[in-house]
């Protein structure tokens, strides 16, 4: 049963803030996301979505990072 307010990062609306709960991915992608700062507890904001929906720009730890929706889909986030 999913917690109310828990969504995936690719569902976070533009301008909204979320707090990262966890990553559903393993291996290299997980490692890369962690290195970019997508660590549980971090606040992330959806800044801009590309016209075709992919990639999406997120503001995290002072940086602007672009993720594809297949990556955003793997990140569990609590809507703030």
């Amino acid at each position: 049963m999913e917690d109310k307010g828990e969504i995936r990062l690719n569902q976070l609306p533009v301008g909204s803030l979320g707090r990262i709960l966890g990553l559903e991915t393993k291996g290299l992608m997980r490692r890369r996301l962690l290195d970019l700062g997508f660590v549980p507890g971090t606040v992330v904001e959806t800044v801009r979505r590309s016209p075709l929906g992919d990639p999406t720009a997120f503001k995290i730890r002072g940086a602007l990072i672009a993720l594809r929706s297949e990556e955003g889909r793997q990140i569990r986030v609590k809507l703030l």
Binding site: L28, R31, R32, D35, L36, G37, I60, R61, G62, A63
Partner: protein
Amino acid sequence: MGLTRQASGISVWKEDFTLGDKEISQLTIALAGNPNTGKSTVFNALTGLNQHTGNWPGKTVLQAKGRYRHRGKNITLIDLPGTYSLFANSVEEQVARDFICFGKPDAVVVVVDATCLERNLNLVLQIGEITDKLVVCLNLVDEARRKNIFIDELKLSTELGVPVIPTVARIGQGLDRLKDVIDDVATGVLKPKPIQIQYGGELEKYIAKLAKEVKEIFGEELNPRWLALRLIDGDQTIISSIQQYFNNQEETKGDLLVEGDL
């Protein structure tokens, strides 16, 4: 990749990373950092036209190397690929990591973006786990000021345990001091003590145990704690890198490591 090695022993590392200099290079300095930190600006500002771009041996990754003179010495500067991390997620990261570990530069300068410090520090801390000869170049301080970000470089330096030199590489500000500090660290006049992240409880016990065994195999050639961490991580690429950069009598050390890992 078909690189044959006739020489044996530790000198082979330097051979693989030889930079083909005709003039004797007295110091080799590596330049590391995230992409888009002005690392290339620092590189260009220090080396001017004395630079050359090629490829890392056997890889498709670009290598820029240059030279400058400082305090009467010839100094070779290697611009490592921009990376967020040294965990070998990509060829660039592997190249950067391998050079820092096996190429044994006399110092590593990490160029850091003052407007985005937190994300940039990931790499600084990782490199601090490999080597003590670390200098942080805090670049883009003018951009930071414009965004109302003011960084207390003395406090940062104390917390990190390494020198932090603010620069605006674009206009050459801070570079003279940077060169001085690079030289001091490279020659041992300044001895940084990079902060070592403690991983807590159980993990530290495993690290200590593994580091002890690693140290018996490799001595002081590779940072035992760092290597222990990579093995616990299950990093396969570090094992193949060790096998590549050690050879002959040393080759068995790489094999020993594969058998003995957790």
